[in-house]
């Protein structure tokens, strides 16, 4: 296991370096002079010349890239020129909101999608399966941003049940400890604030999680169907075990591996989906930070956010791989 772990971690390093190269090249290849782009529009030619000197833009490209890489490794992603704050702190401030949203969306997708898939897969072509498949198609075809808007229209607008934008009723939450509002409220036993946070979270989490729910349902269904045909299931049946025991103890356990893989793969889609869903619900996460940055042409903030999103995705994939290897020993000995 240790050998596999080191091999996977070392294998990730070149990918990360190449990702940073790609992001660096985006700025280089963008039309116009980087100094021109990176400075605000009021900059004078002298400012630009000074900035070129300061940022080392007169140096050869490979030296520039090296500097970019070194400072990024040291945690310096530059300074936002709209807010004049370090990019890294700005992202770190917004990240808990995104993680909180993503966590609840995944939770929702797993809690509903997996049982629905197991149910459908255990009785292929029954009415349960048909309803499940409909949900599956519904989930994978639903654009999250439109679903979000419709949820706002019906649940917040017509029914007036849940709030449509933001993360908390102003002034209700206490001082942040972890930045995860619901966790914070639970830690401080402030139940009113916790329920308030949940209310704000429900609609965005549904909008974001539906796509994954559909995919999970479909994968679980086909995975369960496959395992149902295995010899050990027949054996279990022939020794007289009840269908329920067979399904939950024998089948689901073996069907879990593809499900975990898909959760990992779909996290990327979920991450980019969160950018859009955060915009729809005015959720103050790092996704809406990226869109704000793009709208105000805050280039250091854009590169910083893109880079951190991608690194997060790489880390998630690495974790999933390691998790996967610890569940299924065969993976460790491949290659």
């Amino acid at each position: 296991m240790f050998k596999y772990l080191t091999r996977r971690i070392i294998g990730t390093i070149p990918v990360v370096v190449l990702i940073s190269l790609l992001v660096f090249m985006l700025v280089q290849l963008a039309p116009g002079d980087p100094a021109d782009i990176l400075l605000s529009e009021e900059a004078t030619p002298e400012d630009i010349a000074a900035a070129r000197e300061r940022w080392g833009l007169n140096e050869p490209v490979y030296i520039q890239y090296w500097r970019f890489l070194v400072s990024a490794v040291q945690g310096d992603l530059g300074t936002s020129f709209r807010y004049a704050d370090p990019v890294l702190t700005m992202i770190a401030d917004r990240l808990p909101a995104t993680i909180e949203l993503a966590f609840f969306a995944i939770l929702l997708a797993i809690i509903i999608g997996v049982p629905l898939g197991v149910w459908a897969g255990a009785r292929p072509n029954s009415w349960v399966d048909n309803i499940g498949s409909f949900f599956g198609f519904f989930g994978i075809s639903m654009p999250s941003f439109w679903f979000g808007i419709m949820l706002i229209l019906v649940v917040s607008g017509f029914l007036n049940l849940l709030p449509s934008a933001g993360r908390e009723t102003y002034g209700l939450a206490g001082d942040p400890i972890t930045g995860f509002y619901i966790l914070d409220s639970i830690l401080t036993r402030d139940w009113a604030a916790a329920i308030d946070g949940l209310k704000y979270l429900i609609l965005p989490a549904i909008a974001l999680g539906t796509n994954m729910l559909g995919i999970l349902m479909r994968v679980t269904r086909s995975s369960v169907m496959e395992v149902m045909n295995e010899d050990f299931v027949r054996t279990a049946r022939s020794k007289g075990l009840g269908e329920r025991v067979i399904l939950w103890k024998h089948v689901v356990r073996n069907a879990l591996i593809p499900i975990i893989t898909v959760v990992g793969l779909e996290l990327g889609t979920l991450l980019s989906g969160s950018i859009i869903v955060e915009t729809v619900f005015a959720w103050p996460g790092s996704g809406s930070l990226l869109i704000e940055a793009i709208n105000s042409r805050d280039y250091p903030l854009i590169t910083g956010t893109v880079l951190s999103y991608t690194l997060m995705f790489v880390l998630i994939n690495l974790t999933i791989d390691l998790l996967y290897a610890s569940i299924d020993p065969r993976i460790r000995f491949e290659k």
């Binding site: 075809s141 607008g157 980019s272 995705f313």
Partner: protein
């Protein structure tokens, strides 16, 4: 001379044979999906004839009119500057169709070519191409496209490039896997023994064998491209504002959601049913062509 009866009998056999050939295609998934896709194409192609109004004609005296259905002037109502929603939906179908088809074609060509080279030659080519795949795939989908549009500005061309940038990868992965298997098959050896060049082997013996899988991936990729385009347009990062798209109509609709629900409802329904149709069609095709592909790539953005 054949009697009448013989001719009918003959044509009946012919009918039976052709029915057998299309029977696997007569599944609800494929038929329903096909109808939705046909509607999209129909709306897109005939948009100028179908649309009752100019999609960009503003009428500031008739802003935010509710759907008039058959009785009113504007079937699906008007938006915040008085543009006819139905007409914009027809023209939006056209843009969705054009962008999705272009993206799918280009990324398919690039992906299959690179995948075939990667799998057939193996070695150094394979290493380089697979590293590229790994790096590009490390970006969360859509994020790379968002970044490209953010830096290079809006435009139809930029949008297509931004979307292709990551969407060739599924083709490449599957083609590589298949090409790896094909390169050691007997017919490839035979071709090589007969003196066929690598180009000829790839073109004549490898590529045709990749077509079915490519077709299935392409169908799902089409759904993905439509959602991705709509997402970018929704964020204001798609095509320039003067081109009507479903995504940008939704973005406008979001602003007026509390008063005028029809702005956001109809373009969203169009995206949903189009994507649903394509997904159903793709799912049905996969069942027919290759049941083994069942578990790979069914996701959309």
């Amino acid at each position: 001379m054949k009697s009448n009866q013989e001719i009918t009998a003959g044509s009946r056999t012919y009918l039976r044979v052709s029915f057998k050939a299309i029977r696997p295609w007569m599944k609800p998934k494929i038929v329903v999906g096909g109808v939705f896709v046909f509607l999209l194409c129909f709306m897109g192609v005939f948009a100028p004839i179908l649309a009752p109004f100019d999609p960009n004609a503003q009428d500031l005296l008739k802003t935010l009119q509710a759907p008039g259905w058959w009785a009113g002037e504007h079937f699906l109502g008007t938006d915040h500057v008085g543009r006819d929603i139905l007409s914009r939906i027809f023209f939006g179908a056209r843009i969705s169709l054009v962008i999705a088809l272009t993206v799918v074609l280009i990324s398919g060509l690039v992906g299959v070519a690179l995948g075939a080279i990667s799998g057939y030659f193996a070695g150094l080519y394979d290493f380089i191409i697979q590293k590229l795949v790994e790096v590009v795939w490390a970006f969360p989908p859509l994020l790379l496209a968002i970044a490209v549009v953010a830096f290079f500005g809006q435009g139809l061309g930029i949008l297509i490039v931004a979307l292709v940038l990551q969407r060739w990868i599924p083709y490449c992965r599957v083609s590589r896997g298949q090409a790896l298997g094909l390169r050691s098959r007997d017919f490839v050896y035979a071709a090589r023994c007969l003196g066929a060049s690598n180009t000829r082997i790839i073109g004549v013996h490898i590529l045709p064998n990749l077509m079915q899988a490519t077709l299935v991936i392409g169908t799902f990729a089409m759904a993905d491209a439509i959602i991705a385009e709509a997402s970018l347009s929704f964020l204001g990062l798609g095509v320039p504002p003067e081109i009507p798209t479903w995504g940008s109509m939704l973005a406008d609709g979001r602003t007026y959601i509390s008063t005028s629900w029809w702005l956001a409802l109809f373009p969203g329904l169009c995206i949903f049913f189009t994507v649903l149709g394509i997904n159903m069609l793709g799912d049905g095709m996969r069942d027919i062509f290759d049941p083994r592909l069942k578990r790979s790539g069914s996701g959309t953005g």
